[in-house]
Amino acid sequence: MKMTTLYGIFLIVVIVVGGVGFYAGTAFAPEKIVEKEVKPPRTIKLGTTMSVTGKYSPSVERWTALTKEFVKMVNERGGIYVAEYKTRLPIEIVVYDDKSVPETSAEMIERLITVDKVDFLVGPDWSPIGFAASVPAEKNKVPIVMANVLSLDIYKRGYKWIFGTPIPCAERWEEYYFPMIMAQTPKPKTIAFMTEDLLYCQDVRKFSKLFAEQYGLTIVADEVFPSGIKDATAMLVKIKPLNPDIVHICAYEEATIVIARQMKELDINPKDFHSIMGTGKAYEGLGKLGEYLGGTTQWIPGSPQLVPYIDYAELLKRADCDVFKYTWTTSRMSSYLIMLQAIENAGTLDRAKVRDVLATMTFNTPIGHVKFKDDGLARNPAFPGQWIKGKFVVVGPEAAATGKLVYPRPTWAQIEKG
């Protein structure tokens, strides 16, 4: 046989494989949903991915320990009662590192479902990751309660098996901030927005602008900057002459720090300086300049806890997790608690039944009641606050406040002097 003929045959085989595979795959792909056998008493297995390494790792640092302590605490107290087995079952949470890469998370979710054979999924965090990870969950019909995943587009796809409990959600992020700030004297009139060009920041910006308009503020600037920005002068130079009363930053901590420093260099002194990620990390990174930085917190330590299975304050202590440093912790813990409550309420480990419970029931979390809307997204607000003398003081709403907002904000020069 001549070589060319052989190659020709090979080529044809290849094209046929590709073409046939395409149609065969779409027509005959078996619904490979892993079957769950109902065997007498076993462990409830939850699966999740966490951004242990990579760009989101600073926010996640204590969560591996936290997850371990959570499992320990729940099991110490006997586990979850599942009616189907007529007994309490212990829980287990399998954790993989998604390296802050969406694709990796999706792969690990696939693995959790098919290899580790988890019953249900909790987490992950962060919108881009949630976007990718929700796909295998939905395909395999495994209920997933995601944590800090707030981008609306994720929930607009008509998926039935995904839920998310970001705290706060984009629509309600600044819900308590604006009425609080508008009640100050002298009343602020103008606001400047600076947003990092990322999915989640853009979403919060969209709704914050709506709030601003609703409360009668004039938006004098609406700048968007790329991630990893080093020199904000181009942006700040436009803002300085406008002298905005409020400077509002929708960005991660690194950008918040860079912008704050450069605002100080250019001596831009708004009456209030607020960042959606005005977290403990931002405060740490700014040192002296971090005073009077405005931020948000999910949960206020000391507030009454209605949660079953654990003592939240105690859990945080055991895992050495400061909620002001790791601002997004409560959302993740809520996702765990919600899933467990759904299981108990459904009385079974049948995924479809648990999914139905998730869609309809109201759950107890450290921040209060959580109910998922039709699209699977829970809509909860958070509490605005300000860093005063090294402590994060919650300044709104009145019922929750632990202190008063320092307004107008001292100038950078004054802050530097101390």
Partner: protein, 321 residues
């Protein structure tokens, strides 16, 4: 053991390949979808690695930005499919887009030689990522593109398999043809090659667009698989350097080097990932460093590995590539 003649060896190789292909064909029906998805990803990486090697290993132009063809294919496919175009057309468009891009930049980029070419191509992929963020009227910027959802793991697997086979055959033909010799001559000494009548620009151009076409298709396929892409997912430096590192590890300028590199590193990655909580990257890095110091030609070309391979050959009388 009888020493087989050249044709005999070739037939044995063909037979082995056919067996392998048949196994890969029926594989998905017997194993977990997770394994299928891993193999699928493996195929994608092999496609990227092999096409990188044609321009990098054989022609000597290390294109660090190789991944950009992948990303362009992914974005083209996604934009069109969201717009409602039929799937096969989207795939074809993806290939055309990445080839067109290659054509566009080939003239300026090949005026740059050697080390500078390496840096320039790296800069290119970073630039394309920035464009993906900024041209948000087209790409939806940081929001990313959400494709119509659907479960098509099997289709993706078979198409990736087909694509891989095609790449392997293409590479084989290139390597064993006059075209391939021309590429190697360019790598060895471009000026001399010119003098001897090798139309260097034509060769560079052809190799470049050839190496762009497959990643374009692979990118489209991957976008279809993930159902969601955003700039860092398809252009990010973290992923862009991976297939290249795998090729360097395996052995540039060889038929199977990139495949070996991809497979070994992939297995290691999968094994390490799930065993330890920390230090995955560090272990990966240590392997790269060790290979860099002791086997910079790549695993396949290192003398120790070749000595080992000789032993294996002696035992089984197989034809090594």
């Amino acid at each position: 053991m009888k020493k087989p003649g050249a044709t005999g060896k070739l037939y044995k190789l063909m037979f082995a390949m056919i067996v392998l292909i048949v196994v890969l064909l029926v594989f998905p029906y017997f194993v977990d979808p997770y394994i299928v998805s891993i193999l699928y990803l493996l195929f994608i990486f092999i496609v990227l690695a092999q096409t990188f090697d044609i321009v990098g290993g054989y022609m000597g132009y290390v294109n660090l930005g190789h991944y950009m063809f992948f990303g362009i294919g992914a974005y083209t496919f996604s934009i069109l499919i969201i717009g409602g175009t039929s799937i096969p057309l989207c795939f074809i468009a993806a290939i055309i887009a990445s080839v067109a891009f290659a054509v566009l930049i080939s003239y300026p980029i090949f005026r740059i030689r050697g080390d500078y070419f390496v840096v320039a191509t790296l800069a290119l992929v970073v630039l394309v990522e920035i464009l993906a963020y900024n041209l948000d009227w087209l790409t939806r910027g940081s929001y990313g593109l959400s494709l119509p959802p659907g479960y098509h793991l099997f289709s993706c697997y078979y198409m990736a398999l087909g694509l891989t086979l095609l790449v392997m055959i293409t590479k084989y033909k290139v390597v064993n043809s006059k075209f391939g010799l021309g590429l190697i001559s360019i790598r060895e000494d471009e000026q001399v090659a010119e003098v001897f009548g090798v139309h260097t620009f034509k060769y560079k151009f052809l190799a470049f667009i050839l190496s762009a076409s497959f990643p374009g298709m692979a990118g489209a396929l991957h976008a279809w698989y993930l159902s969601y892409i955003d700039p860092p997912t398809v252009f990010g430096l973290a992923v862009a350097l991976t297939p290249i590192a795998m090729t360097l590890f395996g052995g540039m300028g060889t038929m199977f080097g990139p495949v070996v590199g991809v497979c070994i590193l992939w297995i290691i990655e999968q094994a390490i990932w799930t065993q330890t909580e920390y230090l995955h990257f560090a272990m990966y890095g240590i392997i790269l460093i060790l290979v860099g110091i002791f086997m910079p030609g790549g695993v396949v070309k290192s003398k120790r590995v070749q000595a080992l391979w000789e032993k294996v050959k002696g035992r089984f009388g197989r034809f090594a590539a």
